[in-house]
């Protein structure tokens, strides 16, 4: 069997775009066809990206961001979402309500995520989380997720269960009461931001805690507008 090495131009045409490091490594090691084939199979995400996006779309998600979240990023996300909703001729009241949920959720990640990058305590660290915005069955929804420390789970859970039980009037009253107080010392979230979101939402906040390990859980929330 004759195995011929692909000429340089053939390589660049047949290979998917990869980072400089892997391309130069390939040239240096003069790969045979089989090695290139293996590399192709190893890049699963590339071949699954379409299905991943399709899955998001099937769930109504039209925007999804996973990674380090910053104030600047939030501003740009907010701008783009507002533009998109305006293009869809969404009622201004809804646009602002969705935007307000995204701001509160993103800033919750920024302030409270237990996952930091590059690592906790590093100067100029970034907070890591995931935000998704979608439209389903006549309503916009916002999803948000980030790691939290296990010893905060009970506190957050209790506060959210408390909010889930309130009607609009009670939430409004609760919001005004909490607004007059300063932020609670060492506040671990589920504070004014959540009350504000609950107050603006079409139905009670949904949330979930998934244990990750002995230190962390993953905290997810969903708000429907």
């Amino acid at each position: 069997m004759v195995v011929s090495e692909p000429a340089e131009h053939e390589l660049s045409v047949s290979e998917p775009a990869e980072n400089e490091l892997s391309v130069s490594a390939r040239y240096l090691s003069l790969p045979k066809m089989s090695k290139i084939e293996n590399k192709r199979r190893e890049n699963h995400m590339l071949y699954e990206l379409y299905d991943f996006k399709k899955d998001l779309n099937n769930r109504g998600v039209f925007f999804c961001f996973s990674g380090p979240v910053s104030q600047d990023l939030l501003v740009e996300i907010g701008t783009i979402l507002r533009k998109k909703m305006e293009f869809e001729e969404t009622h201004n009241a809804i646009v602002l309500r969705v935007f307000s949920m995204v701001v509160e959720m993103a800033q919750n990640i920024i302030h409270y995520s237990a996952e930091r990058c590059p690592r906790e305590g590093y100067k100029d660290e970034l907070s890591v989380g995931i935000i998704a915005v979608g439209y389903d069955n006549g309503h916009y929804f916002v999803l948000c997720g980030n790691r939290v420390f296990n010893n905060n789970v009970e506190n957050i859970r209790n506060k959210l269960i408390h909010l889930q039980k309130m009607d609009k009037e009670q939430l409004k009253k609760h919001y005004k009461e909490q607004r007059k107080k300063g932020p609670s010392k060492g506040s671990m979230g589920a504070g004014l931001g959540f009350i504000d979101m609950a107050k603006k939402a079409a139905k009670p906040i949904e949330f979930d805690f998934k244990p990750v390990d002995e230190k962390f859980s993953f905290f997810s929330t969903k708000i429907v507008i």
Binding site: V75, N92, A93, L96, V103, Q107, G193
Partner: protein
């Protein structure tokens, strides 16, 4: 006393406090990452201004807030509380809360503040024709 002027940004409001004409303006949006960094100097100016004010003129605060986050809501409440205290102290204070006819949220926000500040003259002013 020197006027206070802070230019509006994407996520912090315009602050224009005119100590000579006794008009205070807060306009725009407010959702900075850290509200205390932005609002502490604003509170300080207001404290000094109100403490030094001894005239009979009316102090007018014009607010037009398109959107603000929950932490900013606290800061704005703080400003309004300071003015309410001044009003109970005998100073003449008027708050004009401007909202665009298409901005339901701004109207609700204004109403919420007004309900909490019963001893202040708090006008809801509709704009946009």
């Amino acid at each position: 006393m020197e006027n206070m002027f802070i230019k509006q940004t994407k996520y912090t409001p315009l602050i224009l406090f005119d100590a000579d004409n006794h008009t205070l303006e807060i306009r725009g949006e407010s959702y900075p990452e850290d509200t205390s960094i932005f609002y502490t100097p604003v509170f300080r100016w207001l404290e000094t201004y109100l403490a030094e004010f001894s005239g009979k003129q009316t102090i007018t605060l014009n607010m037009e807030m398109i959107y603000y986050n929950s932490n900013s809501s606290r800061s704005l409440m703080n400003i309004l509380d300071m003015l309410q205290d001044a009003s109970m102290d005998g100073k003449k204070i008027v708050i004009n809360w401007y909202y665009h006819k298409d901005n339901e949220m701004a109207l609700e926000n204004g109403e919420e503040f007004r309900e909490d500040l019963e001893s202040l003259t708090f006008n809801l002013v509709r704009t946009g024709g």
